[in-house]
Amino acid sequence: MELKAMDQTQLLSKMAIGDGHGESSPYFDGWKAYDENPFHLTDNPNGVIQMGLAENQLTSDLVEDWILNNPEASICTPEGINGFRAIANFQDYHGLAEFINAVAKFMARTRGNRITFDPDRIVMSGGATGAHEVTAFCLADPGEAFLVPIPYYPGFDRDLRWRTGVQLVPVMCNSSNNFMLTKEALEDAYEKAEKDNIRVKGLLITNPSNPLGTIMDRKTLRTVVSFINEKRIHLVCDEIYAATVFSHPGFISIAEILEEETDIECDRNLVHIVYSLSKDMGFPGFRVGIIYSYNDAVVNCARKMSSFGLVSTQTQYLLASMLNDDEFVERFLAESAKRLAQRFRVFTGGLAKVGIKCLQSNAGLFVWMDLRHLLKKPTFDSEMELWKVIIHEVKINVSPGSSFHCTEPGWFRVCYANMDDMAVQIALQRIRTFVLQNKEVVVSNKKHCWHSNLRLSLKTRRFDDIMMSPHSPLPQSPLVKATN
């Protein structure tokens, strides 16, 4: 029903009418382009390849096999139906004990069993999305702020701010030191907030980082802990990508810092972890978010708030069974890391061959790609221009650094774990073609000697041989269409 804009302003809340949902950001424009013309190997081979979605599709087969072999884990199968009514009826926000215990165990295992987690401190939420919002509701009042190192996941703008009224204050990180978080940057951000009369209630870090794909080293984590303790502010660690670490150095959880770094003072009441199974296990559709807090009052409050986003007991029951299968979990984590490493090598290798570098990383489902050399000018306008070309001409949806609030133009987050091998090759091919076309244009513009032209085309043919060689495995599996 059509209504005048004026009417809606009076009729609905400011929240409903405003832009706080953040979906006007360019982050979503790429998705729209993909939605309108999605790549499909056979049905739409010239469509847009989705590389803007940080999903882990590399291990679905392992989970699928497990489910097929464990029918009793489902309350709908003949083997499991005896549990149906009790499970369907259970709405206690403490969650199914076997589920909560299994999650605690899984969290420990993804951290190499170097620490343990107390199931009583685990609170469910509607995905990490829900977890972040609940945490913000518990720790900060409207107008108060969280410090967040940039670049950061665009969803935070909505999750932490929209309905809570909380603000985000950026902590500057840049390529000069590989975007590592420094004490100076933290202090600067805190001071700036103070000057602007903004009360800082906490610091939010994502480790492993989205979009960087890097992990925080021990020194940085220690710095962070000292900083928040000194300022008496909360530390929220989003460890949603914990099990996507596929090579050295290993992942260090904030939980480990609390246990091991006993020389630095830290009030545990200030530390909270946000987690989810969406990335590590690859089932975002099941909406399993977790808040783990060392602060009893926060656990209690978050638990009450979890009423607004509990995990379906059908899912709790299934996952309790799955995560309690020690043999499966061990095999899964090892295989997942292996496949992520392999995919990472193939993708970054392919990029390197056309002179595209990425930030050195060892985690996540994406790379932080450096396309600064392809920008006409080192400006965000140029970045947008390049991005539009990538979407509409190269036909790949990637995420521009500006959507992550990066201060340097030219960086792009590119996801590689949400497609099969064939799609990766096709994506690399398209990138190669684009880069070489670009180079040729640049070369002809610069009026170089014809020698270099020849050299360029020779290079191309050799690249073709490598990419399409008969021994490289290119399975004819149908692509799973990402449905976001």
């Binding site: 209504l3 489902s74 518990c138 008496r232 607004f308 379906s312």
Partner: protein, 467 residues
Amino acid sequence: MRLLSTKATCNSHGQDSSYFLGWQEYEKNPYDEIHNPKGIIQMGLAENQLSFDLLESWLAKNPDVAGFKRDGKSIFRELALFQDYHGLPSFKKALVDFMAEIRGNKVTFDPDHIVLTAGATSANETLMFCLADQGEAFLLPTPYYPGFDRDLKWRTGAEIVPIQCTSSNNFQITETALKQAYEEARKRNLRVKGVLVTNPSNPLGTTMSRSELNLLVDFIKEKTDMHLISDEIYSGTVFSSPGFVSVMEILKERNDTDGIGNRVHVVYSLSKDLGLPGFRVGAIYSENDTVVAAATKMSSFGLVSSQTQYLLSAMLGDKKFTRNYIVENQKRLKRRQRMMVSGLQKAGISCLESNAGLFCWVDMRHLLHSNTFEAEMELWKKIVYQVGLNISPGSSCHCTEPGWFRVCFANMSEETLTLAMKRLKNFVVESTCTQRSALFNGTSKRKSLTKWVFRLSSRDHREQEER
């Protein structure tokens, strides 16, 4: 500096209310037929446990769904990755069809106007976020579901102003009460953004009459920025006449000539009708595109698990099943309610005549020492601790008259219900004896007690004969 937020340290979550305290007591000492026969019987939980066998038999006949399969092919991957807040189209279609069926197909719903949420809890909160700014108010008829204090007010900062309903007219909403509530809000400088009703009512167990519904629609029609939210979570539990009339039906009848279709919103859930509260399936239905758009984005904070959406899309898509389920479920609820009502009668207790819900609104005013809420609390504690029944005191539902209690009947076996009624009767008989001896010892209030004692004593004789 204060470490946590105001929301974390206040008690607007409402969990200090007796509604929740009763639950806690139950949890400490839960009744079990074999292991704890003297434990507290849970009658404070509005759950529908009467029709699980129907769901189970459907599942047995539809193994594909359980194995994440569609037409024999595995769709696990698709479901595992599906996090689109627009929801599974097949599920939304099946859900709106089910909603229409419950309403005798007198109205239809457009799947594009449905927003899926994690239970009605989330649906109600989300609607508040969309319709009211902090400090604005909604009018709610009392008595109302205690959870609303948390769902509508806690994180939204919205206010609730009660529309006082009384037993004088079976707690129906009157124009006077509505206007008084509105005035009260104005006196408190609160901008009223609408009215929220639960129809069928929790805790009354009654369906709203056509005249009440028209009264509400007329009321919001006059005020251009007011909304009407109808929480129809119990719509499938209507088991006798008068039947259920949804606000959507009223709008259809009025041809929405008032142009208020974009200010009326329905909340639904499968927790009560299907007895699946664990699955967290809630929905907002609105013809207002902006509300749908905003609520859809907000649903990110509490989406329905894709495997649950898939399961239910298949189940609710089976029209033969849903037709049969709706009828059979209502039959069983009716039978169970009758059991409770007659059990209460035997204890000399009456309740509000009801035709829906999973509970009765029980009148225990005659068992109060005095017509006060203190007396109600005293009675409630006796019933929880001595009688061993967790029931919900009317004060927790913001009832203005002491002595009413919500007692649930659909979350236990017939044997347990029978036991509960027996315990209650024994308690009443004992109380009567105590009262009568107190009377002989010359306590005051003789006049008001006489009639009551007389009524009970004649009943006593009858009971002795029955035994």
